[in-house]
């Protein structure tokens, strides 16, 4: 009964939604123009990066906060199983991981640098680095993290990028408003922020996996 009602409601809703989408007249505001007009002052030449770290950089700041707090929530509530026995890792997988890691780090670095003028940036770079860490972990070369015993250095790395971002945003308050880059230093500051973010994002994203993982080399 409930099933039938939900499905009927979903059909009606989907129909309305599609109808609304198809009928929609063109929008009165076009931000592409505004973005293009202000690119010169944004400090970067790739529009998405300009929006992400300059025009709507405040969103990004808060978004890192979301990521960080989710990690803390996960540490607070996640399972606390006894540490798993040290399983002998797959030798082939280890070799693969050893070979793959350096190029992955290079790719990450490239993505970070490229973000200023073409697709890429801190998120992608951080995600790639995190993927490398997960790979290392799965091949037994990087142990899981214990949420209850987190060394200070690791905590600093986790929050470092966010703190750097926050500090720069606040320092720029002196110029009039939060995150108001001076046009000439914008490029440099954005690169600085992105570098910090890349490291912290890599650590946080990997942390989402490493705090929970109990599989030393045994992915299903």
């Amino acid at each position: 009964m409930k099933r039938a009602i939900v499905i009927a409601a979903a059909l009606v809703f989907g129909g309305l939604l599609i109808n609304a989408i198809v009928d929609l007249p063109s929008s009165p505001v076009d931000l592409r123009i505004a973005v293009a007009d202000n690119m010169a002052n944004s400090g970067v030449s790739h529009p998405v990066t300009a929006v992400l770290l300059n025009f709507r950089g405040y969103d990004t700041l808060l978004e890192i906060a979301v990521l960080l707090l989710a990690l803390i929530g996960l540490m607070a509530a996640g399972p606390m199983l006894p540490p798993p026995p040290n399983q002998p890792a797959d030798a082939l997988l280890q070799k693969l991981a050893r070979i793959a890691t350096p190029p992955v780090i290079v790719v990450g670095g490239y993505l970070l640098w490229a973000g200023a003028f073409r697709p890429g940036g801190a998120f992608q770079a951080g995600a790639v680095l995190a993927a490398a860490m997960v790979l290392l972990h799965l091949s037994g070369l990087l142990s899981a993290w214990n949420a209850q015993l987190l060394p200070l250095a690791r905590r600093v790395i986790l929050v470092g990028g966010f703190v750097l971002f926050l500090c720069i945003s606040v320092a720029l308050l002196a110029a009039g408003s939060l995150l108001q880059y001076p046009p000439h230093q914008a490029g440099l500051l954005i690169l600085l922020i992105e570098s910090g973010l890349t490291l912290s994002l890599a650590a946080i994203l990997a942390g989402l996996f490493l705090f929970l993982s109990r599989d030393n080399g045994g992915a299903p």
């Binding site: 499905i7 989408i21 063109s26 931000l31 592409r32 709507r56 969103d59 509530a77 399972p79």
Partner: protein, 101 residues
């Protein structure tokens, strides 16, 4: 129909599927999947609609990037809670088994 609009319509369908899934599916892991479908559907609608004239628009791209990160954060938190719940159920059942024995 332009292909951008097509993807927006697909997004609407996926969102609807996701909503129906979160309401109807009992298994919590599957619910997490359904919630992720909702998010992806909404992202498709956002970018597809914004670009239905054909030109690329960086503003929704940045929003979707933000959205993807938020989604993975929420997913990780949900999985952690799910696993914790599962673990406690396990230990509880073991306890009762010991009691019975």
């Amino acid at each position: 129909m332009s292909s951008e609009l097509l993807f927006a319509v697909v997004g609407a369908l996926i969102f609807t599927l996701g909503v129906a899934g979160t309401v109807l599916v009992a298994n919590l892991l599957r619910r997490i999947l359904a919630f992720n479908l909702m998010g992806s559907g909404a992202f498709l609608v956002l970018v597809g609609l914004a670009q239905r004239g054909g030109e690329s628009d960086p503003v929704p791209h940045a929003m979707v990037l933000t959205g993807i990160v938020v989604a993975v954060a929420a997913t990780a938190l949900a999985l952690a809670l799910l696993r914790k719940q599962h673990e406690m159920k396990d230990s509880e059942e073991e306890l009762t088994e010991i009691d019975d024995g």
